[in-house]
Point group: C2
Chain length 346, copies 2
Amino acid sequence: MPTPQQAQVWVIDHYLEDGLDGSELRLERRPLPELSEGDVLIKTRLLSLDASNLLWLSPKKDYLEQLQIGDPMRGQIIGRIEASRHPDWAEGDHVFSLQTWADYVVCSGDALNNDAISFKLSPHPEIPLDAYVGTLGVTGWSAYVGLHHIGKIGSGKRVLISGAAGATGIMAAQIAKAAGAKVYGLAGGEKKCQLLMDKLKLDGAIDYKATTDLKGEIERVIPDGVEIFFDNVGGEILDAVLPTMSIGGCIVASGSVSQYGKGEQYGIKNLPLVTTRRLRMEGFLILDYLDQVPTILQEMETWFLEGKLINQNQLIHGLEKAQSALSILATGGNTGKLAVYIDGDS
Amino acid sequence: MPTPQQAQVWVIDHYLEDGLDGSELRLERRPLPELSEGDVLIKTRLLSLDASNLLWLSPKKDYLEQLQIGDPMRGQIIGRIEASRHPDWAEGDHVFSLQTWADYVVCSGDALNNDAISFKLSPHPEIPLDAYVGTLGVTGWSAYVGLHHIGKIGSGKRVLISGAAGATGIMAAQIAKAAGAKVYGLAGGEKKCQLLMDKLKLDGAIDYKATTDLKGEIERVIPDGVEIFFDNVGGEILDAVLPTMSIGGCIVASGSVSQYGKGEQYGIKNLPLVTTRRLRMEGFLILDYLDQVPTILQEMETWFLEGKLINQNQLIHGLEKAQSALSILATGGNTGKLAVYIDGDS
């Protein structure tokens, strides 16, 4: 296939300030270079929507290099190689990579080989492609690493998950159940809580929006205390959970999605309990565990085919919907993993 | 010696509210029971003043059972056995124990044997007794456990200590130096900083009271980032240190002395950095490590005799000064470990 001469690219118009205003990104046509020796042409099939997208749209420097105004938006994608001038990559290969949000991307095959975040994907024929950005994607690996490597989960442990109906939370819930833990979820709204109870068969779900005393509600549902708190949310919810932790408990600091892009950050008042309750609070980024992904992925594909992991993606169709998908993510309107699916098999 | 019929006892008059008002305790004469079979009479020689004393005077339940209004104040003491009706304890023995603040205490020898916090002390003849509540006391063991067991200190590590001129901080500073680390201290006031530089030979000291940009000041002094933060203080200082932590750094949550007894707790805003910087924040209480104290103490007595640990106690003479000693502790007016020394060898 000849290289298209232009790509549609989502470009950063301005950073978000106190929440998204829906115009942070604009879709532009930009010229696509000819393939030089060693290059590949990727046709984007899926954009994975993650909390890190919001982080990159924030004016604060956090991890990886900051994006500038006018830069293309960055994100995890799955693409198919449409043309290749690199010996390691062939037309029809699939690639999982950190790329720009665009319909076509030209990049160096060596860059794909050398980048820890990029690898060749061999999707299982019985598994839909979008599962590899959902259940079998970064959020699944993150949940696995957070629960097993950081939380040292074991059978019978009392595990509480915040944002339990969100992308990483829904994976943490399933992986924790698979480990034989007693699993409880925090989520906003009755519908999400029903999902947790009916579909994921959790041991308890608390609608944090329906209570004015979240701490008391957690103590009622988990009277023996939380042993592992898998926290995706931070802020006020973390502050309410801290006094419900068991002595020696672990807080897996997976993220603070409630605080990204917020001007004034919420101040955590109950942190002295880390000392008196002998808690361990530990952060991690999946970036540091990418060498373990092949092993994790193999194990998780088996679970998937055995029906132990549910593919609970919310697919938004069409590249032009990426900004509105981001707004859904920012307001927590999604149940499960959000992804933008770009149709058009060639 | 016949049992005295009365003891002077510090009794809780009221809890502290927003800082000490200096009348939380009152000194009362209370009857002292006759020694029954199995009892010992302890003459108190030293009261150790610790952050936990302030914690116990707070209305919040934290660890160990709460003290009630009218109860005797609790604290670590060193006493001498004056009379014994227990086969394991003899007149002249020394005991390190969690007891009430009083000149004489009658208690069961079995209780001393069974209580993890109490043990027989064999003070080295060349080491002054008060060293065993200071350099060789709980604060020393805490600093040791915090740096070695929690912080996994090693040679060359960049270690920052808050409250570095305080009881535990001054020990952490010395033990970190002994481990070959690069050691920096935060303290309030020029005098304390001079002590850290001149006497303890730290690699840097920052007077947090003399700067309006603590974060910037730490970044200037430790441009490569803090690898281990030994935090005794919590609150605003912890919030300023968080953005100066290296990726993968460890926060040893030794205490939050700035927050004890305060009505409104300071809210930590920079906690999302725990995730993005992959930090580990871990609390500990020396209570959980008491079985290791004999080993730690043996090692530390050797260091003491070799001059590697300085006995930097601030001794207040006389039981009747205990409340004012507590006020010094609460306002951070001490340099080094505070203890009340009760004279009168018999």
